[in-house]
């Protein structure tokens, strides 16, 4: 009965639309069906291209439309399906169309929610989508996160060091947390993926936390590096709360949603690719030119003698070349096979990667195996399974800050060129008289390995529970597992200079084992409702459960038995265990309304509770709302040269959890003379700790000109982060030193502009130009504790200051009284860039392709302590150069030392750069030349081949403290970064 009404109204509509069509030359009719179900589709818009006239399909999927002789193209559109343009032959009167659900057309559909996607043209947010081609199409990438550099507006990506195997921090739209993670949430095929940085326990040797800083300086890699970029079909970056609210309490630093490749119905395709390359140090610094007097100044009479001896015997050594001068071999092999039939598709891939580093005995070795399957059980029930096994091993060397003088970085800067460090014929290394470590010996004998075995499994069941002509209800259930075992092995043999003869601990073996298991279960009901052809509603309701369990056991053995490295072959053993357990439960509900693709509105709410909050059962709510206005779809639109103008506004809230354990005050185990005891931990628990909350409002517009050849989009956002978590100092006399509290508010404002221009598009030559601009400005708007400095080592060496009304990434230090502000400190810079720009050019000429990506980071400062540490031993490359002293008197080395303790000015440096991130030149051998057997593609590519910066060290992109919180941009003798050259061959059948 009600079907009758609908039918009647649809027929009426069709009739009325048909009336608007003028004198006709022919009538075209046909049936529209759904590709996956083969059922007729009702309500599909059938428009005569170039006009606003047309019709819609009826309940049986049939339509009929009248065309003039001059009209020969019909456009079929339906929400959630790929738009199709069908060109008719002059005499054709029947066109049956099969419409495909819009899941593969990535430029069109953006996966923004947990269960659903949105057409990009209807999206109210600025969401970046990166497809496989731009991820790995220009050049080979060492890790997945590395591939994002310069491609995402609003993303500041920093490599923490040059050590192979990753270690990258990604900050979306500025600093979103001071205390907690600033890293976005990564979700791969619905699986919440862990991105921990887990320390290998090197502190027992480096004592890095022994002095002013107590944070982790072990330079671990982050676990997102395990993922294989070649498996990625698309990657969506939800940059702030307005887009990511539906992910709730874990989403305030943004969300990266990754979809891996799936097979397609049809011929089985096989793709094989091989990369061979080399990596070399990006920027060599060298050492000052020594003479006998300088040697004496720094190392006394012995230094003079050593220099004279070395010089006369020709034994002045370029230790930079020795230590960092390796040309590492890079090998990556990828084989993928995909295909399927009507019911089942598959994609399987194996990737082998073996990268050497620029330091001998460092490197990264990875094997990744993937199998993705989809299967239609019935016409209404579909399952999808994604499985990824990864085995990786990274040898990372021994770098960064220490307090024992033993890392390769620290001992290298302490060692002049006239030191004699090479092993004799028997392999005995002389002690380094200038530093605690002979870094050549350290390089050759120390092991610092991270080995990962990881399995990531996702399952998705989609069921269409019922469907009528006006509505459908789908159930989507997902389960995900991310399970890995990380084994860290750090071995410092007792033959090392800093371990033997009572130096150090007579050999140290540190073996860590982390078992990480994340599981997540989600279920959603999606209800689509089309009361008439111009309105559609989509209602979603879902529940989510995420469990995290990480268990790290770290065994430290010292006083090793000879060359033995097993933990039990040692005089002393210590075991540490750390468990992180978190359970989150939540729900979400969302309503989308679409009026003729003209106005698209969304309202939603997410509720989350977590065992990490002070009150585990307190529900935190995160609302969102957005609206997109497609002006070009309105009837009044008559701007011919502009084919899209979308205005959009979005608001959303999202959270960020306190770190595990922040709510507890607890006792640590302590042993004295064999008796165990309990000592109170110096962090005071906070029973009221709750998540940080980000509220973001985003405005923007998207424009397209010249038939989409020129696209331009602008987005402005304001983020207010309240309940900002701070690790505040507490009065030490309380017996505690710190406590995590929700004590501040932070605001980020920024602008993001994108321009894509297909400048030339002919059959022979194609030139595409893309440029992005982004800028963010942060400000602490409220601070409930006194302003404080953090993130560095000490004020006189430069620190970040958290102060109301100021940028949270402001770098302060000591300085002349007349420059001091009310805190007695002087502001020397800000680690936040003035702006970032990237430029991508892609040229295709016949069978040649040339692409390159430039990235310009303007401004942004670093705290560079490498040169100062070098100065103390007189080894800095610019020691004798005079370009720092305003009076032109002192060499830079002397100037920096004279400034030390008086002013921080010379240690804060502009860390801006302009660099060619990626370049690739490819040649596609015509298929015809290979008798249609295969497509072969060969090419030469490079990473970071052109670099321009003023920064006085290896690379302005560096972080001594890893990816956490504020502290990117502090440099202490890191593993220098490298450039990469690759040759590629790709064969597909």
């Amino acid at each position: 009965m009600k079907h009758f009404l609908l039918k009647a109204s649809l027929l009426l509509m069709s009739f009325m639309m048909a009336l608007t069509v003028y004198a006709q030359d022919r009538t075209v009719s046909g049936t529209v069906t759904d590709l996956t179900t083969s059922e007729p589709l009702a309500g599909v818009n059938v428009i005569i291209k170039g006009t606003s006239t047309g019709t819609i399909t009826d309940i049986n999927g049939t339509y009929s439309v009248e065309l003039k002789a001059s009209q020969n193209v019909l456009t079929f559109t339906f929400i959630g399906f790929v738009k199709q343009d069908i060109t008719l032959s002059p005499s054709q009167t029947t066109v049956d169309v099969i419409m495909e659900e819009d899941v593969t057309s990535l430029s069109e559909v953006v996966i923004t929610g947990l269960a659903t996607s949105v057409k990009r043209s209807n999206l109210a947010n600025s969401v970046e989508s990166i497809d496989a081609k731009s991820l790995v199409g220009i050049t080979e990438q060492p890790t997945m996160d590395n591939a994002l550099y310069g491609k995402v507006k609003g993303a500041n990506i920093t490599s923490n060091s040059g050590a192979p195997g990753g270690g990258i921090s990604i900050k979306l739209r500025g600093l979103t947390s001071i205390n907690g993670a600033n890293q976005p949430l990564f979700i791969i095929d619905g699986v919440y993926v862990d991105n921990s940085e887990i320390s290998a326990g090197l502190n027992v040797v480096s004592a890095a936390s022994g002095g002013g800083s107590q944070s982790n300086q072990d330079n671990p890699s982050n676990r997102i590096a395990d993922l294989n970029p070649y498996d990625i079909q698309s990657l969506e970056v939800l940059k702030g709360a307005s887009a990511a609210a539906i992910y709730g309490s874990r989403a305030s630093s943004g969300v990266v949603v990754i979809t891996t490749k799936k097979g397609k119905n049809g011929r089985t395709s096989v793709n094989f690719s091989q990369n061979i390359g080399i990596t070399t140090q990006l920027n060599k610094l060298g050492q000052r030119t020594w003479d006998a007097d300088k040697a004496e100044t720094h190392f006394g009479a012995n230094g003079r003698a050593a220099f004279i001896d070395a010089e006369s015997q020709g034994k002045l050594h370029d230790y930079e070349k020795e230590l960092y001068g390796e040309q590492g071999l890079l090998l990556t092999t990828n084989l993928s096979v995909s295909g399927g039939d009507e019911k089942t598709t598959f994609y399987t891939a194996v990737t082998r990667k073996k990268d050497e580093g620029i330091v001998k005995n460092t490197g990264y070795d990875k094997t990744s195996v993937r199998l993705n399957l989809t299967h239609d059980i019935t016409d209404w029930l579909n399952i999808e399974a994604t499985t990824n096994y990864i085995s990786s091993s990274a040898d990372r060397g021994f770098f960064n800050n220490d307090n024992s003088g033993t890392t390769m970085g620290i001992s290298y800067v302490g060692t002049p060129v006239f030191a004699q460090l090479f092993a004799d014929a028997e392999g005995n290394y002389p002690d380094n008289p200038y530093a605690a470590s002979n870094f050549l010996q350290t390089r050759d004998l120390v092991t610092n390995n991270e080995a990962v075995n990881r399995i990531i499994v996702g399952t998705k069941i989609s069921a269409r529970l019922f469907k009528t002509d006006k509505m459908s209800l789908r159930l989507i259930a997902r389960a995900g597992l991310d399970n890995y075992n990380l084994a860290t092995t750090a071995i410092f043999p007792n033959t090392l200079q800093f371990q033997k003869n009572g130096n150090g601990l007579n050999g140290v073996s540190i073996q860590g084992n982390t078992v990480n298991k994340n599981t997540n279960f989600n279920a959603f009901l999606v209800h689509d409702f089309f009361p008439n052809q111009s309105l559609s509603f989509r209602t979603q309701f879902g529940i989510t459960a995420e469990n995290f369990d990480q268990n790290t056991i770290l065994g430290t053995a010292s006083n090793l038995n000879g060359s033995q490295t097993n933990l039990d072959q040692a005089g002393n053993q210590q075991i540490d265990q750390n468990r992180i357990i978190q359970k989150d439960r939540g729900f979400f509900a969302q309503e989308e309304v679409n009026y003729e693709d003209k106005i698209i509105g969304t309202l939603g709410i997410r509720g989350d509770k977590s065992s990490n909050n002070g009150d585990a059962n307190k529900m935190y709510y995160y609302p969102k709302g957005s609206m997109a206005l497609n002006l070009h779809n309105f009837n009044f639109w008559s701007v011919d040269f502009m084919n899209q103008l979308k205005l959009r506004v979005a608001y959303g809230e999202a959270g960020n959890f306190a770190t595990f354990g922040d709510k507890y005050t607890f006792f640590n185990n302590a042993i004295i003379d064999g008796t165990p005891g309990w000592v109170i931990n110096n962090k005071r628990g906070n029973g009221n700790v709750g998540p940080e909350r980000q509220s973001e409002t985003e405005f923007g517009f998207d424009m397209s000109f010249l038939s989409n050849k020129l696209k331009f989009d602008v987005t402005y956002y304001i983020q207010n982060i309240t309940d900002l978590l701070l690790t505040a100092d507490v009065p030490n006399s309380s017996g505690f030193t710190r406590q995590v509290t929700n004590a501040a508010e932070l605001q980020n404002k920024g602008i993001e502009i994108g321009l894509n221009w297909n400048i030339i598009n002919t059959s022979k030559f194609n030139w595409n130009f893309n440029t992005n601009f982004w800028k963010n400005q942060g400000k602490i708007t409220k601070l409930n504790v006194p302003s404080f400095t953090t993130g560095g080592f000490a004020d006189f060496l430069g620190q970040f200051r958290i102060k109301e009304g100021r940028s949270p990434s402001e770098i302060v230090g000591i300085g002349p009284a007349d420059q001091q502000d009310e805190d007695g400190l002087v502001v020397y810079g800000d680690s936040e860039a003035d702006f970032n720009m990237s430029f991508t050019n892609s040229f295709t000429y016949k069978n040649f392709e040339l692409s390159f990506l430039f990235h310009w980071k303007k401004g942004g400062d670093n705290i560079n302590l490498t040169q100062l540490l070098s100065d103390f031993s007189g080894t800095s490359y610019d020691y004798d150069k005079i370009d720092l002293d305003p009076e032109g008197q002192l060499g830079n080395g002397d100037f920096r030392q004279a400034s030390f303790l008086n002013t921080t000015a010379p240690f804060v440096e502009d860390a801006g750069y302009f660099r060619m991130r990626e370049i690739g030149l490819f040649y596609n051998i015509p298929r015809t030349a290979l008798k249609d057997l295969a497509d072969i593609r060969i090419g030469f590519t490079g990473n970071n081949l052109i670099n321009s910066f003023k920064y006085r060290s290896y690379d302005p992109e560096v972080s001594n403290f890893g990816g956490k919180g504020l502290s990117s941009g502090v440099e202490v003798t890191p593993f220098p970064s490298s450039k990469r050259y690759n040759f590629h061959i790709n064969v597909s059948f």
């Binding site: 053993q573 507490v730 303790l901």
Partner: protein, 442 residues
Amino acid sequence: MKNIYRLNKLIALQFILLLVIMGSCELEELEFPNGPTEGVVENASRADIALIAVGVEHNLRNEMGFYYDATGIIGREVYFFTNSDPRYTGEILGKGGSDLDPAGFYGTRPYAGRYATIKNANLLLQALDKSNDVFTDEEKFGITGYAKTLQAYSLLLAANLQYENGIRTDVIDPDNLGDFVAYTDALTDIESLLQDGADDLAQAGTEFMFALSSGFTGFDTPTTFLQFNRGVAARVKLYKGDKTGVLSTINDSHFNLTSDPAELLDGPEHYFSTAGGDLTNPVFRVPNAADPLVAHPDYTADLLIGDTRINKVALRDSEAIKDGLSSDYDVVIYSSLASNIPIIKNEELMLIYAEAHVGTNNTEAITTINLIRSAYGLTVYSGGTTDADVMNEILYHRRYSLFNEGHRWVDMRRLNRLDELPIDRTDDKVHVQFPRPVSEPD
């Protein structure tokens, strides 16, 4: 088809029901998996209390490396030359007139370490108070006497660092900390806390219900621990200038007039070990290390010929040079990472005893000094006998007997003689006290 839809509607209904059930389920509060939380104090067992008591002695050593290094460097006893941190030869020596940093780890960490010990002891006292387990009165007095003594000792070291900035002596409630009290008032509070502890220990029977480390061998019963308590009390009274008090207290301590070099060293010690989970001696450095702890050049220059305390330093293979400073001698007070560090030696008590006699009985002071001289291979004292002469002599022995144990700087300060400490580089300065830590608002 219709049947399938009906079936599916049923599934949908069930699913909605499931959502409602799951949405309403409670999330259990997770136990902290990595250790006991502070809540253990609310209902502690005997075993728990013994663990917290052991923790107090463990914490007593906490961050003491920074205490000895920083006081030794400011007191111009030692230098620490390291490539890793320039502050040891920089602001700690007042290089270029620089001040100490209120956030500098060398001052804040030893300060925080003292209060962590005090906190652990307060938790011990609270746990004992609330425990439902059975304790004898003697056991209770043992625990309270032990806790108060170690709290008082920790407060004394904090006062040594902060001096005229004053310290907080009432820190039981972290949300309501007591006011800062002036240095002399702090000493009075410490003295009275020691007296409370002594009173408790006197009623504590013959043994503690928890274990002390072998560092406290000879001081590990309430009776002998009381001697340590009285030794610290004598030191406090000396700092207060209460010489009568010193003499009335010191005989209840482990004070023993002797010229036996071994007996001079009697006293409780911080235990150190390289065993897993334990702490290693933070002052020990390997001789001839590239990052050495070296003696101030005046150590050997001012040492009397024949004084065997030359053995506290050792000639280096090559001169250590850093930042315009140099030394030929490594500090070798401790032989390994497992060497204990004295807390209060009989030798110090003898010197306290001697000093308490200056001005009233210089002869007794000289007699005492001669015992020490003889122990270190020196002939009897032949210098002047004025108060000032005798005091100089005592100061000489305090300097060498207590070398790098945190005394020189404190002694010179309490005797108003900081200006006599050597200045090694133009514009270096001798700090009087550590700035109040940045974490402590007034």
